[in-house]
């Protein structure tokens, strides 16, 4: 029975010119978006690989110099582009692409792409995620707003109910019919996405991530289908059903996210760059400054060192004191920056939790959060990259300072490493992408909420179908 009803919905929608027009338009846009982002991904990932190689060869090819001068000269880490960004590029355009790695400080990633793009990029970007998260629900509304209300208006609802079909079966049949239509449209697109994914340089867990992304989307579509069926069952007129459903979409996709963005800022304000810098400066002054041997902290450190080695001057130490004090200062600086960065990141996480909490009136936020988490284009993935770049910076600078300490004399700033290949032998930056096991704990609450939405909306839809009156 359910199958019959589903078939009827399917055929009827296919005959509707409005649906045909919108579906073709949406499909065309999805394909456009996929192709464009595939092209973009291929280009950008090559660029980043190349850039990373160039940066390394620039490091290795730098003129012979004192290792600590090399630490000031610095190098760059480029953020690799995750392959799933071809489905959802998340926050990638809003976060810097390169981090300058130098001695003494942890720099923030620089050059957000959004600042170089035309203004229209701020409106909306035609990415597959945009079409899948914002536009497909609209198509669902279009398919489903009239499933009960139109029949009521045409008088066929009474007819159907008099045939002995239970209202629940009727509801399930309508839901199944919409699913059938939706899947017949989406399966080819999602398949194409999978094809692109397989064609590119993907990590083993990327396929699982893609599968989860699809699951999240399907749950989300389920919510829209259920809500549409429920509203259609209650609405006396089709246009009321349509307007209410579009209102739901606008609230979920447009209004709540922006409202929450501002609320989260009010609840958990981020420090200004000035405050951030001055906090760091204050904390730095409390430790050893490698470039200022006269500071109080440096003196205390020096005295304790002289005592430990039982000598009366730094010249008599068995190693170059300059290298050690640089490294000691560096270790203090590293902690100061790491703390500041963590504090900022924690504020971001608090703000994201506000977004997550607002999901009780917006399933769209959940999907947005989940989709970029799974695609590794969210804040966490970026933070993870920044952390790895920082770890690398610390290791590199340590190697440089220790070379100074172990192989040169105190006061000899003209020292250059004897080994011509010294810079070539320095540690290399290898980025390890965030494993799925690390993403899941962060994604779990949102996923749970989404399941909640799915279940509740399904219950509401069936209950509404049961209560249906003519």
């Amino acid at each position: 029975m359910i199958l019959h009803i589903a078939k009827k919905e399917f055929t009827e929608a296919l005959r509707d010119s409005r649906f045909r027009f919108s579906a073709i338009l949406l499909l065309a846009m999805l394909l456009c978006a996929l192709l464009a982002s595939w092209h973009y991904y291929a280009q950008v990932s090559t660029e980043h690989l190349e850039a990373a190689r160039t940066a390394r060869s620039q490091w290795e090819g730098q003129a012979a110099k004192n290792p600590h001068s090399a630490a000031h000269f610095g190098t760059f880490a480029f953020k690799p582009v995750p392959v799933l960004s071809l489905i959802d590029n998340g926050l990638d355009k809003y976060m810097g692409v390169s981090v300058f790695l130098e001695g003494h400080k942890q720099n923030l990633a620089q050059y957000q792409q959004i600042a170089d793009q035309n203004d229209l990029a701020r409106f909306a970007e035609l990415s597959p995620a945009f079409a899948l998260i914002y536009l497909v629900p609209l198509l669902i509304v279009l398919m489903a707003f009239g499933v009960f209300s139109t029949e009521r208006e045409q008088g066929t609802l009474q007819l159907a109910l008099s045939q002995g079909v239970s209202p629940i079966q009727l509801g399930l049949g309508k839901i199944a019919g919409i699913w059938g239509l939706l899947l017949s449209l989406l399966v080819p697109v999602l398949g194409l996405g999978l094809f692109f994914l397989l064609q590119s340089d993907h990590q083993p867990d990327d396929l699982a991530r893609y599968g989860l992304m699809v699951l999240v989307l399907l749950l989300y579509y389920g919510v829209f289908i259920h809500v549409s069926v429920a509203v259609s069952a209650w609405a006396k007129q089709s246009n009321v059903a349509l307007i209410s459903l579009l209102g739901f979409w606008a609230v979920s996709a447009l209004l709540i996210p922006r409202l929450t963005a501002n609320f989260s800022k009010q609840l958990y304000p981020v420090p200004s760059a000035l405050a951030y810098q001055s906090q760091i400066k204050e904390a730095l002054e409390k430790g050893v400054d490698g470039h200022n041997p006269f500071s109080e902290r440096s003196k205390i450190f020096q005295d304790s060192l002289l005592e430990a080695h039982q000598v009366d001057s730094v010249h008599k130490l068995p190693f170059n004191y300059a290298g050690l004090i640089m490294q000691t200062g560096e270790e203090h600086e590293t902690v100061v920056y790491a703390k500041a960065m963590k504090k900022l990141h924690d504020i971001y996480l608090d703000q994201l939790r506000v977004h997550q909490a607002s999901a009780f009136c917006s399933p769209t936020i959940l999907v947005k959060l989940l989709s970029m988490q799974l695609a590794k284009t969210d804040l966490l993935a970026h933070y993870e990259f920044a952390q790895q770049a920082e770890k690398y910076r610390v290791a590199l600078v340590r190697d440089l300072n220790y070379d100074l300490k172990d192989n040169s004399k105190y006061g000899d700033w003209d020292y250059v490493p004897k080994d011509k290949d010294f810079f070539k032998k320095n540690i290399k930056f290898e980025y390890r992408p965030t494993p799925l096991g690390q993403t899941m704990p962060a994604a779990a609450p949102s996923l749970l909420f989404l399941f909640g939405w799915f279940g509740l909306s399904l219950g509401t839809a069936l209950w509404s179908a049961k209560k249906i009156t003519n």
């Binding site: 409005r18 919108s22 456009c32 978006a33 950008v44 660029e47 850039a51 160039t54 940066a55 620039q58 090819g61 730098q62 003129a63 760059f76 480029f78 926050l91 809003y94 692409v97 390169s98 923030l108 620089q110 050059y111 600042a115 170089d116 793009q117 035309n118 203004d119 229209l120 990029a121 701020r122 409106f123 909306a124 970007e125 035609l126 945009f130 914002y134 279009l142 009239g146 007129q237 089709s238 246009n239 349509l242 307007i243 606008a250 447009l254 996210p257 922006r258 963005a261 501002n262 989260s264 800022k265 200004s272 760059a273 000035l274 810098q277 900022l344 504020i347 994201l352 804040l379 700033w413």
Partner: protein, 436 residues
């Protein structure tokens, strides 16, 4: 006519619908204005802070110099703390002056690009961002989501309200069966509908104006200014467009549901589809060169300057024979070191100017191309207009950047000349420092 207005008014206020819409609009406008007010207040406070910072620095050093000139204090021995020395007064250790972009009088209405581009930057000798203290630390997720500002309410939400008020003006009469009644009256149905639309337009426009004015006035924005008149004009035209669209679609004589669909399709088309397709086209046809390559190009220039150091120095000393080059590193004083450093800096600037120019030009070409698409969407035009009125459009920030670069040139030239001529700064010079 009067009776028409009377009945129309009664019909409009009869249900709770209109009241709900008005209430929603008012609360959204107030919240949006509050957000804008917070943002602008923060901006003002930050600008005060940075200006104070550099003022304090120069006031302190001027006072010190004054005492030295009057013989009350001994000259400062340490060169990098000496207020007569052009270098510590222009290049490092807190020296430098901030270039600032104060918020426009109507800045409250639109966040625009203000969450992406810096509005202040510290200019020091040879450096346009000497303190590196002007990044936005806002959560990228929030920035990407967009702000709840008046511009959002006016460009995105208001059209939805108009659609809700106007989608069934004619079709409802048909569906309720009152159209026949109307047709039996001695009136032209199109004129009747036009009147009805004009009336609704008037009510909506006036309420919007009242709500926007009230929301702005609550947060202390002066309404008696030309920009505000432009704001009203923009709202008037933009809402007129949407009412016109409703009118046209009603005339097609389809059902209410069909009208609603078409109007929401139009909304989607103008607010999301045109901008996103235009952006896609612009990025595909005129891609901005990649920043990662840009970073590497700058680094390559740095390497080149390093390798050609010897040549640069030889050229510098032959051009400036009054300076004698010291062979041993150990013999070099801070003066020698800075002279050579500045000479290298000049050469590096020459190398990088081309790279920067190429990048900026290509970005500008893409912006120019994308800008053509605004004629396809009143929503883009409205957003642009509001950004311009708020002084938060891209061009304002690019001009700010441009003027900052010019200021840096003036600042650097002034102090470099003093340094290379071994001049000492006097308190009178402190009055003549280049200003932004």
């Amino acid at each position: 006519m009067l009776s028409f207005i009377y009945f129309e008014f009664k019909a409009l206020v009869a249900g709770p619908f209109t009241a709900i819409l008005a209430f929603l609009l008012l609360s959204m406008a107030l919240f949006a204005a509050y957000n804008g007010h917070q943002r602008v207040a923060k901006q003002r406070a930050t600008l005060r802070e940075v200006n104070q910072k550099s003022e304090d620095f120069y006031a302190k050093n001027r006072l010190l110099l004054d005492s030295i000139e009057k013989g009350l204090r001994k000259p400062v021995e340490t060169w990098y703390k000496d207020p007569t020395n052009p270098l510590p007064m222009s290049a490092f250790r807190g020296a430098g002056r901030y270039a600032t972009l104060p918020p426009a009088p109507l800045a409250v209405i639109s966040t625009g690009q203000s969450d992406i581009f810096p509005y202040y930057t510290k200019v020091a000798l040879g450096d346009e961002n000497a303190a590196d203290d002007n990044q936005s630390f806002e959560n990228p997720f929030n920035t990407a989501t967009g702000q709840f500002d008046l511009a959002f309410v006016l460009t995105f939400i208001l059209p939805l309200f108009i659609v809700a008020l106007g989608y069934n003006v004619l079709s409802a009469e048909r569906e309720q069966g009152t159209l026949l009644l109307l047709l039996s009256m001695p009136i032209n149905i199109k004129y009747w509908m036009l009147h009805k639309m004009w009336f609704r337009y008037g009510v909506l426009f006036l309420s919007t104006v009242a709500i926007v004015s009230f929301s702005l006035a609550v947060f202390g924005v002066t309404l008696a200014q030309p920009a505000f008149a432009w704001l009203l004009l923009s709202i008037g035209l933009y809402t007129l467009f949407w009412f016109g669209l409703c009118f046209g679609i009603n005339l097609l004589g389809r059902s209410s549901a069909n009208n609603a669909l078409m109007l929401l399709g139009a909304w989607l088309f103008f607010t999301l589809l045109v901008p996103s397709l235009a952006n896609l086209t612009a990025t595909a046809l005129y891609p901005v060169p990649s920043r990662v390559q840009y970073v590497n190009a700058l680094r390559a220039a740095q390497n080149k300057a390093e390798q050609e150091k010897e040549g640069i120095l030889v050229a510098f000393y032959s051009k400036n024979p009054r300076f004698v080059r010291k062979k041993q590193e150990a013999d070099k004083t801070w003066r020698d070191w800075w002279r050579e450093n500045l000479a290298e800096g000049d050469y590096l600037a020459q190398l990088t100017t081309q790279t920067k120019l190429k990048f900026d030009t290509q970005a500008q070409v893409q912006r120019g191309f994308a800008n053509w698409f605004r004629y396809l969407s009143p929503t883009i035009m409205m957003q642009n207009a509001l950004n311009q009125l708020a002084g938060t459009d891209t061009q304002t920030y690019l001009q700010f950047h441009q003027r900052t670069a010019e200021f840096e040139q003036r600042w650097s030239a002034y102090f470099k000349a003093k340094f290379l001529n071994d001049e000492k700064l006097t308190t009178k010079d402190f009055e003549r420092f280049p200003t932004y």
